[in-house]
Subunit: 620 residues, 2 copies
Amino acid sequence: MSTSLSALQNAATQLRIDSVRSTTAAGTGHPTTCLSAADIVATLFFDEMRFDAKNPRDPDNDRFILSKGHAAPVLYAAWAAAGLFPREELLKLRQIGSDLEGHPTPRLSFVDVATGSLGQGICAAIGTALNARRIGSAYRTYVLCGDGEMAEGSVWEAADVALLHKLDNLCGIIDVNGLGQSQDTQFGHEMELIAARWRAFGWHTMVADGHDIPALQKAFAEARATKGRPSMVLARTLKGKGLAAIEGKSGWHGKALKKGEEADAAVAELQKRMTGDAKLELTIEGPRSKSRPDARPDYSKMPAPAYAKGDSIATREAWGAGLAAVGKFDSRVVALDADVKNSTFSDKFEKVAPERFFQSFIAEQVMVGAAMGLAARGAIPFPSTFACFLTRASDFVRMGGVSFSNVKYSGSHCGVSIGEDGPSQMALEDLAMMRSVPGCAVLYPCDAMSTERLVVEMTRREGMAYMRTSRPKTPVIYGPDETFPIGGSKVLRQSDSDTATVIAAGVTVFESLKAYDQLKSEGISIRVIDAYSVQPIDAKTMLDAAKATRGNVITVEDHYATGGLGDAVSEAVAEGGFAVRRLAVREIPRSGQPDELIDRYGISARHIVDAVRRAAGASR
Amino acid sequence: MSTSLSALQNAATQLRIDSVRSTTAAGTGHPTTCLSAADIVATLFFDEMRFDAKNPRDPDNDRFILSKGHAAPVLYAAWAAAGLFPREELLKLRQIGSDLEGHPTPRLSFVDVATGSLGQGICAAIGTALNARRIGSAYRTYVLCGDGEMAEGSVWEAADVALLHKLDNLCGIIDVNGLGQSQDTQFGHEMELIAARWRAFGWHTMVADGHDIPALQKAFAEARATKGRPSMVLARTLKGKGLAAIEGKSGWHGKALKKGEEADAAVAELQKRMTGDAKLELTIEGPRSKSRPDARPDYSKMPAPAYAKGDSIATREAWGAGLAAVGKFDSRVVALDADVKNSTFSDKFEKVAPERFFQSFIAEQVMVGAAMGLAARGAIPFPSTFACFLTRASDFVRMGGVSFSNVKYSGSHCGVSIGEDGPSQMALEDLAMMRSVPGCAVLYPCDAMSTERLVVEMTRREGMAYMRTSRPKTPVIYGPDETFPIGGSKVLRQSDSDTATVIAAGVTVFESLKAYDQLKSEGISIRVIDAYSVQPIDAKTMLDAAKATRGNVITVEDHYATGGLGDAVSEAVAEGGFAVRRLAVREIPRSGQPDELIDRYGISARHIVDAVRRAAGASR
């Protein structure tokens, strides 16, 4: 049993009507891009895709990702037509009390990742397609893109990676309506010119009339039959299709039709397209397979890391070891690399779980986008690269926040302590970037023991997390019995007569300990805190320390002065009316040896000693 | 007169020797990627390119951009061979006292943009090529890329935009050595597979043996003869070429040869490749043309903006008007758009200077990268899009900082005040991103008058700058006689009995003024400051206000609490021991009406009034 052609055509018409009505009710939005996509969406939802419409989260449902997120109203209309919620809900589009937001977000059960920043949905689709392999499911992933978004480089990163992984369970559709926001797209309706690109990138590429439902059905069937590579359907469409005064015309991007005559006439014009008795007898077939639910291992049974105090090991290497350990322990854990696995040590994971290790080559955007897709389907993805190159995926990280994605980022080689490679390879803004995502745990351990423990913590904790690791080897200072809760800190030195509190993380912990020793030899005692959890920060410990040390609070970090540890501590102690003196990097650094640079840019023991002396002098 | 083949071959050998010697002296670095590129670099520098080797900054010199920045030693060796500095300098590679850093930066006179983050140099090359048109110069741009970096989507953004602008003065070369950092590249030496992509993207594409100098000469000549589109030379090479034990082998990425036997044997092996009497009789022809120097207009003669107090106009629109005004006044000013010109109002510039308006379509990375290239050659580029989508180019912004690029960014539609479009379109981390670049001026005006004045200020001031603009209309509150120096602020309300200082910017200025009125009616007076210059912040005014209001300092911003106005003020007043209470957005927002959202997320007048009351209560 399947949906008849006339029912599909009517369904498409109903999607158009609902898209016009909802955007007009909202007074804002994008009806015309919905109209170009309506036949594609109707064919996918009510003929091609297999899913349980009552349970959008079913792990074996085919996935639909709306990469052109501004067409949200047609997506919402499709789920209303599928029976998930009453059609009248659509008229609450973009209202503060409704989850039917201007662009789709996973507040809605049927949305895997937030879209609305173009060129991202197709990257996430790589992730949902990879996840089908992880869980052994036959579900397929469909991703609907706009033609304008092909200008985004991330789309071509996705093209490469989908080919690399031979994702024949992935079908892309590009709604080629030829119109961008402000003018015609670069290639308009030159379908063969666009097709040549996808063919050159190795995809099975088809061109179809995007308003011809049988032609779309044929293309989707051909995609299903294609093995060993992804498929792309280039659908020629008209923006505003169905409304004679608007279709194919510039100047209508992002404009709702006006309430009253304009919208009423449009709805009436669309109604006339209904065939037969205008009924919608829609059939949706259930999932293609039934996979086993993910196991959730008991993390309390994980063995402790085997480091001895005094061992010398870089936190990046301990991160790799921790990743391999959780990877062995939990089949939901996957790792993604951007061709630096031998520097970040994610290759330790590859050795223990090669089938869950995904190479992206030097393409950070698709690496992060794929991680978002994987996370949406129950995997616990760890994308990693040099911390500075995570900025390449900053917009994906941002949208991962909007998606509430359970992604565990790691960035290695942070700060000037990397040394000779110079500023292009130094992350000095990654804490600011990651702290800018509400709810993201931001971790910055100083030794191997705390690093491995925190890898476990970030895996167990639901939600986005980031771990910053360092290139140089550092001594292990924590024993196997220490715990490192997210939101905690470690007071490493304290006495009843502390003059100042020095709060550090990562390599500056060791500079602070050196400063402690030097000051102690001069009869000055200070409190030293390892703030391994930069977000959430351990506000109580920081406040207590500030109170105990006459408000002399000094932070020191291998990061720029903006948005990092200093600012985090500053807000924490502001509750008590205390201010913070921030030692941080304040100019573009240059190449040199790590110790030279740490000193030159003001974050070495010598500078901490000076700051303590100044603070002590000022508060005397 | 031209360099003989044997001299070119010897020059290539010398580049190899110098690359080995300098990296061995440094003890770190990337010799093997230099060895694969040596014949290409020798052919370009000593046969193809035309430039004044004594004056690398000559505006009519052919440009060479090393997109594969880790091959820096071969670039440095080429300039030493060209006579710019003594060869012995090369042995200072990567030392803190030398500008010969691990990756190239514009501290060196012959480097236009810092590279080392892959996939960026080719974007900058678009900018230098566009600049040749702007100044009417015949110079050509050559950009040398690695094959690994083709995985970066930004490369394909550049491919599109170069075709769009028909940049036949641009010649790319890809050093296809088939080896990435951690493993083989995705396509190895499958030259035709790679060529198919460039052909599909419309470039004149040639395949050559990258170690065959006559073949390279022929390809470069063919590129020069190609009109109406850019050219790409795919050069098949071996990583480590010239050293039998290493060439074409994995495992040698980023490894310097060991001092002593290993390096000595390598140098001896290379020396044997010298032909004839091993002399380097190198000829470098001068520039192809002589262009007129850029005019530098007298900005004091610019007419004042024509707004009247009380006019209602969005700052984004005033930014567009200001951009058009400086564009008319100064031919160095260029604008770049990512298909949102009718929302950001950069289309006002397009109307007055269409020949200096460059469309990038929805490709923010190449837009920013091209701006960096333009800036390197004397243009004053204004790339703009929605502020949230500037995060797409975050790594380019970062590298623009490392490049000390004179780029003037603008991001519109900041904050929750955009309303119904929802979180994917709201920039709530852009201040943090831009403040993370040392020296970047970060401006956030609240009305049209200050906006236009600040556009002029940011144009005149050398160095990177960012202006954040808002979607909603706001009233003009400043008259034509007000000045807005970068680093300044405006005290809008004050008295001798102020209870607290409220520091705002953009839309929250008006919320603060509402709060002032309400509190005043209750007999409470507050100081209100418009901190239009978020970086540098007006520390003196902030400190004075903090002192005058018993340390009750409240910031309020349409931005997340991390890295924005609150943190900037916090560091400024920390000098006086004062703490800051930050009103800011603290969760992922949703769709709704602007006023609803401003209130829901805690930054409306009501919340300011509450914060003032709490502060006043606490300090009583």
